[in-house]
């Protein structure tokens, strides 16, 4: 009497996911005869259905995209505003210094060469501040 060969787990899973090509007919014929293998196949069918439909039901709109956009663009806008404020302050201070020195020179309280030297230093400081903080570049990028 020929020994009955039962289906392996591998065969049953491949049968259900459609990757079993060779021996498909033999498996189906065996299923009609063997209650044990049929029971195993039915259990796998329930596992496949669970994995496909029940394991993680399709979630409703989570709004993740919008939250991310806010995270991406908000800091950039805030940084741009801060940069503009800082740049305005630097240039405003430089302008105020120049005006004060001009008034002092016009009232002849400060020698012209000293005024020129101070003016140069103030201008250099303003330029260095801009260069070091890379403000212009950051502002251009953020616009």
């Amino acid at each position: 009497m020929a020994k009955t060969v039962h289906c392996t787990d591998d065969d049953l899973q491949r049968y259900l996911d459609g990757s079993l090509t060779e021996g498909k007919g033999r498996l189906e014929a065996h299923m009609r005869e063997c209650r044990g293998c049929r029971r195993e196949l039915e259990a796998y069918e329930r596992v496949f259905a669970f994995a496909r439909n029940e394991m993680d039901p399709r979630a409703a709109e989570s709004g993740l995209g919008r939250a991310l956009l806010a995270r991406i663009f908000r800091p950039r806008k805030a940084a741009a505003t801060a940069d503009r404020f800082l740049l305005g302050a630097v240039f405003g201070l430089s302008a105020a210094l120049i005006i004060v020195f001009l008034i002092l020179v016009l009232r002849s309280e400060l020698p012209a060469d000293l005024f020129a030297a101070i003016l140069g230093v103030a201008g250099m400081q303003a330029l260095l501040a801009v260069k070091e903080t890379n403000l212009l570049k950051r502002i251009t990028n953020s616009i």
Binding site: D10, A43, Y44, F48, F50, S62, L64, G65, L68, L69
Partner: protein, 211 residues
């Protein structure tokens, strides 16, 4: 060429073209297309990071970090793989890094499984898979099936995190074994072996329950 395969190839081509359009649009600054990109890949990323996250809160943070990385590096994507594979790989690397940090903070864990409540309960209003208009289950049957699903969910939580991710990626996100391998940096045979082992464990649970 068989009609089915031809149609599959056409679908793949359409998807690739759509990916290209989406990437190009996001790179030119389209917010709406970035939202669309996130919407399309959120589930896939969730299925990779959640099992490895350690907690739901960490998982949600990780999810955002992954998409921030995607946004930052989208310009480097060269279409050598599917966009979903590329994003999945970013998610896997981020989750692996996060897990390593978490274990280090804990003082060096063994990397063994932690039960993470990453899978939501069944959503409201979803049709019961067993219920059809022709053969509505009896109340007893409904109870038995509900109990079965509860046990299966518990069993899924006890699977190693990699098996859980692979199960979700294969069955829910319809990724091929090759694509999952590329995302998780595993050989196809290893992916297949994890998938088969996970399903066998769940099947054994169902059979034990019936005895």
């Amino acid at each position: 060429m068989p009609a089915g395969r031809e149609s599959d190839e056409r679908t793949a081509m359409t998807k690739e073209n759509e990916d290209r359009r989406l990437v190009k649009a996001v790179l030119t600054g389209s917010c709406r297309d970035f939202e669309e990109l996130v919407r399309r890949h959120e589930r896939l990323v969730r299925h990779i990071v959640m099992p490895m996250a350690g907690s739901v809160e960490d998982g949600e943070d990780l999810l955002q970090d992954v998409f921030m990385k995607v946004y930052a590096h989208l310009g480097t994507f060269r279409f050598e793989s599917k966009l979903s594979t590329w994003i999945g790989n970013i998610a896997f690397n981020a989750a692996t890094h996060h897990r390593a940090m978490r274990l280090r903070e804990k003082g060096g864990g063994t990397g063994t499984l932690e039960v993470v409540p990453g899978l939501p309960d069944r959503g409201p209003g979803r049709p019961d898979i067993e219920a059809t208009p022709d053969e509505a289950p009896s109340p007893v049957e409904t109870l038995v099936r509900a109990e079965e699903r509860r046990r299966l969910r518990e069993a899924v939580m006890l699977l190693p995190e990699i098996q859980r991710s692979i199960l979700l990626l294969f069955h829910q996100d319809e990724q091929t074994l090759g694509e999952i391998g590329a995302m998780l940096e595993l050989p196809v045979n290893t992916v297949k072996s994890h998938l088969f082992r996970a399903r066998r464990k769940l099947k054994e649970l169902l059979l034990r329950q019936e005895e």
